[in-house]
């Protein structure tokens, strides 16, 4: 699912990483800039200074931008800060990716949304009220959940979360983690990458693989298989 060979960015270096499908991966970054850069390099939004990334079987170095866009359409990206379009309401943000890529009818989207809301323990009435709010007027959980719902509404092969849990309570974090596990269990072959800033939440996440990015480039990887 993810294959990284000696990735070198502006902020970090990363050795060889192999992540098969079905894994819940945590990547611990020392800073927000590191985390952001890792997401950019992993998704082919930026090119690494050195090295190569193979994502969902495709080498990003050999892929042109239109094909990368198509590849990213198979991913689900969720970030609480800077992950939503500010002039759109949360509801519009949630529907944006799925309506754009899959053009599903409203009933199908609504049915899927109900399942996802149930997974993350967000009461439907409360959620639909929040969907009318713009990201700037929403709470941290509403933004995080909206970003998570948008990512999963398109039924992605790989969920990529960038510092999703910032400012959330332990209960809110638990709900999103359990919902992500439910998403992974629903269909074999799916995967999830949680990029965390600092390792404070690793224990809560209980990833099947854990990687550390280091500013100094002394990468160490631990696998908790």
């Amino acid at each position: 699912m993810i294959e990284i060979h000696e990735m070198e960015g502006a902020h970090f270096r990363l050795g060889r990483v192999l992540v098969p499908a079905g894994e819940l991966v945590a990547v611990v970054a020392p800073t927000q800039a590191c985390a952001r850069e890792f997401v950019d390099l992993l998704t082919g939004l930026a090119a690494p200074r050195r090295g190569n990334v193979r994502l969902l079987g495709q080498s990003l170095n050999d892929t042109a931008e239109p094909a990368r866009l198509a590849l990213r359409a198979r991913l689900g990206f969720a970030a609480q800060e800077g992950g939503l379009i500010n002039h759109l309401a949360l509801g519009e943000n949630i529907l944006l990716g799925a309506a754009y890529h899959h053009g599903k009818d409203a009933a199908a989207l609504d049915a899927r949304l109900r399942i996802l809301l149930e997974w993350c323990g967000w009461p439907a009435d409360e959620a639909r009220e929040a969907f009318l709010r713009k990201p700037a007027d929403a709470t941290a959980f509403e933004r995080a959940a909206a970003a998570w719902l948008r990512a999963l509404l398109g039924e992605p092969e790989l969920l990529v979360c960038d510092d999703l849990f910032q400012g959330l309570s332990a209960d809110q974090r638990r709900r999103l983690i359990e919902a992500s596990v439910a998403f992974l269990s629903e269909k074999p072959g799916r995967g999830a990458v949680f990029v965390l800033v600092g390792d404070r939440l690793v224990e809560e996440l209980q990833p099947t693989s854990l990687f550390y990015l280091s500013l100094r480039g002394d990468f160490r990887a631990e696998s908790q298989a």
């Binding site: 931008e65 198979r74 970030a79 500010n86 944006l96 754009y100 990512a151 398109g154």
Partner: protein, 245 residues
């Protein structure tokens, strides 16, 4: 990371993208942006354009027919050439540029500054598809509707107000206009509005997505955009005048 629209170097590249990605309009979010743009531009300023058109028509007719005493035929001729031919397009373009145009520039520039173009790419959406194409088409449609509402109000409102405040009656003015306004002139006017509106839309996208931006430079950016839009207006009208001569 501000993240400009990849591959964008100016209005020329926008035109290429525009043609290549026309099929994107089938996607619901893209067509939603298009109709939102038309609503903001055309419907938001429809009545203002109509009111300005009626007043422009009235002042022109009353000045020429009663003020200068040149009669209905000359008055209607001046209305046709000056108000319907030139002023309608200019006033509608000015309304569009000063309202939705400037708002669009700052909306796009802030999206770029806040990293929202990155978000679009991360969810597999080419910013050209969602931001450039529907805006260019939306501005084109809006300008055509605004110019037409200005022209229609200039004729109907202008004739009615002139009949109210002078000895000229409504019907002879309408007959005079029908005799000197060939239908193809309306088509030319509509096409010119579409082209100018599209150019304004592309200028909005260029200024918002490509040109340097910072919140402290907003007054300079607004001035630069208005200047470019006025130059575009003169060029488009000039090209059409040359083609029609």
């Amino acid at each position: 990371m501000q993240g400009d629209v990849s591959g964008s170097t100016g209005a020329g590249s926008h035109w290429t993208e525009l043609w290549r990605q026309f099929g994107q309009l089938r996607r619901a979010p893209v067509s939603a942006v298009l109709w939102q743009q038309v609503r903001r531009g055309a419907l938001g300023f429809f009545w203002l354009a109509a009111a300005l058109g009626a007043l422009a028509g009235f002042f022109t007719l009353i000045t020429v027919e009663s003020g200068f005493g040149l009669g209905i035929t000359i008055g209607v001729r001046v209305l046709q050439e000056l108000v319907l031919g030139q002023l309608a397009g200019f006033a509608a373009a000015l309304l569009l540029v000063a309202g939705p145009g400037l708002a669009g520039v700052f909306e796009l520039a802030l999206m770029r500054q806040q990293g929202e173009l990155r978000v679009l790419r991360l969810i597999g959406i080419d910013p050209h598809d969602l931001l450039v194409l529907p805006r260019a088409l939306g501005f084109a449609g809006s300008l055509m509707v605004l110019a037409f509402s200005f022209q229609l109000a200039a004729v109907l409102g202008g004739f009615a107000l002139t009949a109210l405040f002078s000895s000229a009656s409504f019907t002879p003015q309408m007959i005079a206009l029908a005799g000197m306004l060939p239908p193809w002139m309306l088509v030319v006017s509509a096409v010119r509005s579409l082209v100018l509106g599209g150019v304004i839309g592309l200028l909005v996208c260029h200024q918002g997505l490509v040109a340097p931006f910072s919140p402290t430079r907003m007054p300079q950016i607004a001035r630069q955009f208005l200047s470019r839009a006025l130059v575009a207006f003169v060029l488009v009208h000039g090209v059409f005048a040359l083609l029609m001569s």
